[in-house]
């Protein structure tokens, strides 16, 4: 899914992008391209860019910063072993050292990123203001209240009431699904499609939502399993 030369990692309070060797302009373009392809995932993020031993000047970093801010991403820090780059970063008011430890999933704003196709499991109620972002799947045992947000690269399963905002397949996976015992999200997004749930009648039943002909469609779980 990712370009070979870019590595993305979740850290405390942000996302770390490691840029491998090669011509800077080409690499910068590759990073931006990767971000454009995974907009939902990066949007609003604090980005840390590790440029290795490259010597970059202020204009190089400023142009990266501007390109990122056009995409609603804040360039937070630039890591480098080069003194020239460090000096340039400081001139622009960027951090040059960050806490690279993994985020703690119990934080108020959960920003947990694990490698690969794994799932996070949350046994709790997600309240207004809570945000969970994960490149794999998200499984919640509990309710997701209005004002909470789930963003997953893969599928989202909520064993409880889903009333917040969910985005499954945030990195473009159109096969992603959202399941819940009571599927009434404020807004549901699958890949690049956005939809709101229609008003519901009667008792809540487990449902599954997925893309059908480019439309987010919810079906009764019991009917779905019989197909």
């Amino acid at each position: 899914m990712q370009a070979q030369e870019i590595e993305v990692k979740g850290i405390k309070n942000g996302i770390l992008v490691e840029v491998k060797n090669g011509d800077w302009k080409t690499q910068e373009k590759a990073v931006l391209q990767h971000i454009d392809q995974n907009q939902g995932f990066f949007e609003g993020a604090r980005l840390v860019v590790d440029v290795g031993n490259r010597a970059l000047k202020s204009p190089d970093l400023a142009s990266l910063r501007n390109a990122l801010s056009d995409r609603e991403i804040k360039l937070w820090a630039v890591l480098s072993t080069s003194l020239v780059t460090e000096r340039a970063s400081q001139d622009l008011g960027l951090a040059i050292k960050v806490d690279q430890s993994m985020p703690e999933p119990e934080e108020d704003s959960i920003n947990s990123l694990l490698e690969g196709d794994e799932a996070v499991f949350l046994k709790r109620t997600l309240r207004s203001g809570h945000k969970v972002k994960h490149p794999g799947h998200i499984v919640v045992l509990g309710d997701v209240n209005p004002g909470a947000e789930l963003v997953a690269g893969g599928n989202i399963i909520v064993w409880g009431k889903l009333r917040g905002m969910v985005h499954a397949g945030a990195m473009g996976d159109t096969e992603a699904v959202v399941c819940s015992l009571d599927l009434s999200p404020t807004q549901i997004r699958i890949a690049d499609k956005i939809s709101v749930s229609p008003p519901k009648k009667g008792k809540a039943r487990p449902e599954i939502a997925q893309l059908e002909d480019g439309q987010v469609t919810a079906r009764d779980w019991s009917k779905f399993t019989k197909e």
Partner: protein
Amino acid sequence: MSAKVLTITSGKGGVGKTTATANIGAALAKRGQKVACIDADIGLRNLDVVMGLENRIVYDLVDAVEGRCRLNQAMIKDKYIPGLYLIPSAQTRDKTAVSPSDMIRLCNELRSDLDWILIDSPAGIERGFKNAIAPADEVLVITNPEVSAVRDADRIIGIVEAEEKGSPRLLLNRLNPEMVKQNNMLSADDVVDLLAIHLLGIIPEDKAVLISTNKGTPIALDEKSLAGQAYRNIAQRLLGEDVPLLDLDKGSGFFNRISSVFGSGEK
């Protein structure tokens, strides 16, 4: 004696934090408890007005924190009830005048000769709110049966849980049983269903509450008022007594309705 610190907060403004603080304080003191109410809304003080003690303020919370007076000089005795005290906030300063650790220090100093310390939190989730919940042993989240107030309460509960203050208890204020019946207002069940915390009490909508706050006499002392009864019941529940929720449909102090939602939870 070692006082229990109870912080009353809501996120949204205007839902009744100050009124609740004054009335719970009065109801507790009426039952012989020694209570101090602290107004933590620095810069927008109100609790003194609601308690009718505005004209007796000499020193305030910020004076006590900054050492311009002794703590007991900032404690104003209530006019009606012995054992009830107010520590007013400063009107001319802002939230940054006090830090969370100041509040913890202050409460620890007070603890030894009180039964309860009630803290009236400002609206919002910023510094003033952080100050108010820092010393709390327990948090009481107050909300109205209104979508926006419930949403803010939910956010507050999330923050309180993240601060490891335990699960807060809920106070539902200004419920209008008539409007609920006509499906024009969220019911207590709807609110509890969403917030999923223990419901400590329901205060019915009552014009007499507004009149009493304007006059500076707590409604909790009015034997005839249903809202007053609701506050007295809340005080009893805080003291560990098992009092069923008021039956608001009956219009007077009858209590025998316990639904499955209300009955659940600890205590």
